[in-house]
C-alpha cells in the first residue's frame, strides 16, 4: 500500500462537508432555542469553510483559503448581530424559544 492510496482527496472532504451541512440544517429545523439554532447555522457555515479549504489545497490555489477568511469574518460579524438581537428578545420575554415568538400571523 502506497501513500497515494491512503491520501484523503478533496472529494472526501466535500462529502464530510455535505454531511456537516445536513446535520446543521436538521438541527436548525428541529431545535427551537434561538441559541441552538444559531449553533446549527455556524455548523453549516463551517462545512462551507471545509470545502473551500480542501478544494483550495487540492488545486493549490489561494482563492479557497481567502474565501474561508472572508466567511469567518462575516460569520463573526453575524454572531455579534445575532447575539445582540437574542439579548434584546430575552430582556423582554426571558425566553429564547422561537415558538413563543408568534405575535404576528397570517
Amino acid at each position: 500500500m502506497t501513500m497515494s492510496d491512503l491520501a484523503v482527496t478533496a472529494g472526501w472532504y466535500m462529502a464530510l462537508a455535505a454531511l456537516l451541512f445536513s446535520i446543521g440544517a436538521i438541527g436548525l429545523l428541529t431545535r427551537r432555542n434561538a441559541l441552538v439554532m444559531f449553533m446549527s447555522i455556524e455548523l453549516m457555515l463551517n462545512s462551507v469553510n471545509l470545502t473551500f479549504v480542501a478544494v483550495g489545497k487540492e488545486l493549490r490555489t489561494l482563492e479557497g483559503q481567502i474565501a474561508t477568511l472572508f466567511v469567518m469574518v462575516v460569520a463573526a460579524a453575524e454572531v455579534t448581530i445575532g447575539l445582540a438581537i437574542i439579548v434584546a428578545v430575552f430582556r423582554r420575554r426571558a425566553t429564547a424559544s422561537v415558538d413563543e415568538l408568534s405575535e404576528m400571523k397570517g
Binding site: 444559531f38 447555522i41 478544494v55 474565501a67 448581530i81 415568538l101
Partner: protein
C-alpha cells in the same frame, strides 16, 4: 494593481460618509444632523456617477468603456452605474422618510443612519462585484445592518420578533448561498464569474455543479423573498419600523436582484437549463401566493409585504420565461432589460406607497386597512397619493407601473416558448387579482364612511414633516414621469443592459 480612483469615487465618498455620520453622532449637536450629513454625502456620491456616465463628453475624463479593477473582480460598467444610482436615490428617499419617524419616537438616531448607509454601501459594492467573494461580502454588508434596523423599536415585542425571524432566515440563506458557491468552486476551481463561466464551458455540466448552481440561486431567492422562501417577509415587514420596511422592500430587494442577475447572467450564463426552470417555478409561486394571500390582509404594511413578494415574482418572469426556449443573446438582453426596467419603476412606486402610508399612519395612528376608510373626505391629498401609487403598483396607465408590466409581458411572450407563454398567462391572471386588493383600498379611502375611531383632532391635523413631504415629492415625480414618458426609464435600462464580465 490598477486603481481607478474616478471609478471608485462613489464608494469612497459613501464610505467616508458612513464614518462621518458616526462622528457626527458623537458631537454635541441635535441628532438629526447625522441624517443631514448622510443626505449630503449620498448626494455627493451621485456626482461621480454622473461624470462617469457622461465620461465621453467631459474633458478631464478618460473614456475607457467598462472599467475593470482588482484583476477583473470589480467592474464599473453602465449596468453598475445605473444600479448604483438607484441605490443612492433609494437611500436618499429612505433617509428623508426616516428623519420624521425617528424624531417622533424614542429611537437611537445616529447609529440608525450609520447602519442604513453601511447597508447602502454594500448594495453599491454588489453592483460592481464580478466574483463570488466580493459579491458575498457586499450581500452580507447589505443584510447585516438591516437585521438590527428591523429590531430598532427595542421596546416593542413585534419589532424584536421581526428582527429575530429576519436574522435567522437571513443567516440560513447566507449559509445556503455559500454552500452553493463552495460546490461551484469545488467543481470549477474558480471564484471569478468570468472564470467560472469559462470553466463550465470547458468541463460541461455535472451533478455536483447542478447542486451548486441550484443552491446559489436559492440563496438569492431568499434575499429577494421569492415564494416559497418568503415566510420571513410579512412578519418582518409588519414588525419593523416602516421606513426600514420601505428600505427592505426596495433597497435590499433590488440588491438581491442585482446579485441574482449578475450571477445568473455572467457566471451561469451557459448553464441556463439548470436555473431557468427553477426561476420559472419561483416566479409563478411568488406571484400567485403573494397576490392571493394579500387579498385577505387587514394590516396595510403586511399587505404591502405580500404585494412585494408578488412584485418580486413579476420581476423574475422575464428570466423564468427563458425556460425551454432556444435562447439567443438578443433574448437574454431583452429579459435583462425587462427586469431592470421593472426594478427601477418598482423602486419609485413602492417607496412612494410606503411614504404615503407613513404620512397617513402618523395622522390616524393606525396601520389597519379598516381605519383608512373615508380618508378622501378629510385628507384628499394623501388619499390622492395613495390612489396614484396603488394604481401604479396594480399596473394601470398612465402611472409608471403599466410600463413595467408591459416590458415584462413583452419579454415573456417574446421568448416564443410554451413555458414563456404559460408564465405570461399566470402573470396576467395575477395582475387582475392584484388589482382587486389595491383597488379595494383606494375605493375604501375615497367612498366609505369615516370610522368612529378617527377623532376630529386627527382629521384637523394636516401637518406632514417637510422631509417626508420631499420624499413624497421625489417618488411622486418619478412615478408620474416614468409612466407618462417611458422613454426616461427605457433609456436608463437600455444603458444598463450592457453587463461587462470584467475580463
Amino acid at each position: 494593481m490598477n486603481f481607478d480612483y474616478h471609478a471608485l469615487l462613489p464608494e469612497i465618498i459613501l464610505a467616508s460618509t458612513v464614518m462621518l455620520v458616526l462622528v457626527t453622532d458623537l458631537l454635541p449637536v441635535k441628532k438629526y444632523w447625522a441624517a443631514v450629513v448622510g443626505i449630503i454625502g449620498t448626494s455627493a456620491a451621485l456626482v461621480p456617477l454622473l461624470t462617469l456616465t457622461f465620461c465621453d463628453s467631459l474633458d478631464f475624463c478618460e473614456a475607457t468603456g467598462a472599467r475593470s479593477m482588482f484583476s477583473g473582480t470589480y467592474v464599473v460598467d453602465s449596468f453598475s452605474l445605473v444600479l448604483k444610482g438607484l441605490f443612492l436615490v433609494v437611500a436618499l428617499v429612505v433617509l428623508l422618510m426616516s428623519i420624521g419617524y425617528l424624531e417622533g419616537g424614542r429611537f437611537w438616531q445616529g447609529e440608525y443612519y450609520f447602519l442604513l448607509l453601511a447597508s447602502v454601501l454594500g448594495a453599491v459594492v454588489m453592483a460592481s462585484s464580478r466574483d463570488f467573494i466580493s459579491m458575498f461580502v457586499g450581500l452580507e454588508l447589505v443584510t447585516g445592518p438591516t437585521f438590527l434596523m428591523a429590531g430598532w423599536r427595542k421596546g416593542d415585542d413585534r419589532s424584536n420578533e421581526a428582527a429575530l425571524k429576519y436574522f435567522i432566515i437571513g443567516v440560513i440563506s447566507a449559509a445556503i448561498l455559500l454552500f452553493g458557491i463552495s460546490l461551484v468552486y469545488g467543481v470549477t476551481g474558480q471564484l471569478r464569474f468570468a472564470d467560472v463561466a469559462a470553466a463550465i464551458a470547458v468541463r460541461g455540466e455535472s451533478p455536483l455543479l447542478t447542486i451548486g448552481v441550484i443552491f446559489t440561486i436559492l440563496g438569492f431567492a431568499f434575499k429577494v423573498s421569492a415564494a416559497p422562501f418568503h415566510f420571513w417577509t410579512p412578519d418582518t415587514y409588519e414588525g419593523a419600523p416602516t421606513p426600514v420596511t420601505a428600505y427592505l422592500a426596495v433597497g435590499s430587494k433590488a440588491a438581491g436582484f442585482v446579485g441574482l442577475l449578475t450571477v445568473a447572467y455572467v457566471a451561469f450564463g451557459s448553464t441556463r437549463g439548470l436555473w431557468a426552470g427553477l426561476i420559472w417555478v419561483l416566479a409563478a409561486t411568488s406571484m400567485t401566493l403573494g397576490n392571493v394571500v394579500a387579498l385577505k390582509q387587514t394590516n396595510i404594511v403586511r399587505m404591502l409585504g405580500y404585494s412585494s413578494i408578488a412584485q418580486g415574482g413579476f420581476m423574475l418572469v422575464p428570466f423564468g420565461a427563458l425556460a425551454g426556449a432556444d435562447v439567443t443573446p438578443d433574448m437574454l438582453q431583452k429579459a435583462f432589460f425587462a427586469t431592470v426596467t421593472y426594478v427601477l419603476i418598482y423602486a419609485a412606486m413602492n417607496l412612494g406607497a410606503f411614504a404615503t402610508i407613513i404620512a397617513i399612519s402618523n395622522r390616524i395612528k393606525s396601520g389597519e386597512i379598516r381605519a383608512l376608510a373615508g380618508l378622501g373626505v378629510y385628507a384628499p391629498g394623501l388619499a390622492g397619493l395613495l390612489a396614484i401609487f396603488f394604481f401604479s403598483l396594480a399596473g394601470i396607465p398612465p402611472v409608471a407601473g403599466w410600463f413595467a408590466k408591459l416590458a415584462m409581458f413583452n419579454s415573456a411572450i417574446g421568448s416564443g416558448s410554451g413555458w414563456g407563454l404559460a408564465l405570461a398567462i399566470i402573470a396576467a391572471l395575477n395582475a387582475v387579482v392584484a388589482f382587486a386588493y389595491y383597488g379595494k383600498i383606494v375605493k375604501s379611502a375615497w367612498f366609505d364612511a369615516v370610522p368612529d375611531d378617527v377623532s376630529d383632532a386627527m382629521k384637523a391635523d394636516t401637518k406632514v414633516a417637510p422631509s417626508l413631504m420631499l420624499a413624497l415629492g421625489i417618488t411622486f415625480v418619478g412615478t408620474i414621469a416614468f409612466g407618462v414618458f417611458p422613454s426616461l426609464v427605457t433609456g436608463l435600462s437600455e444603458f444598463a443592459s450592457s453587463l461587462s464580465s470584467g475580463l
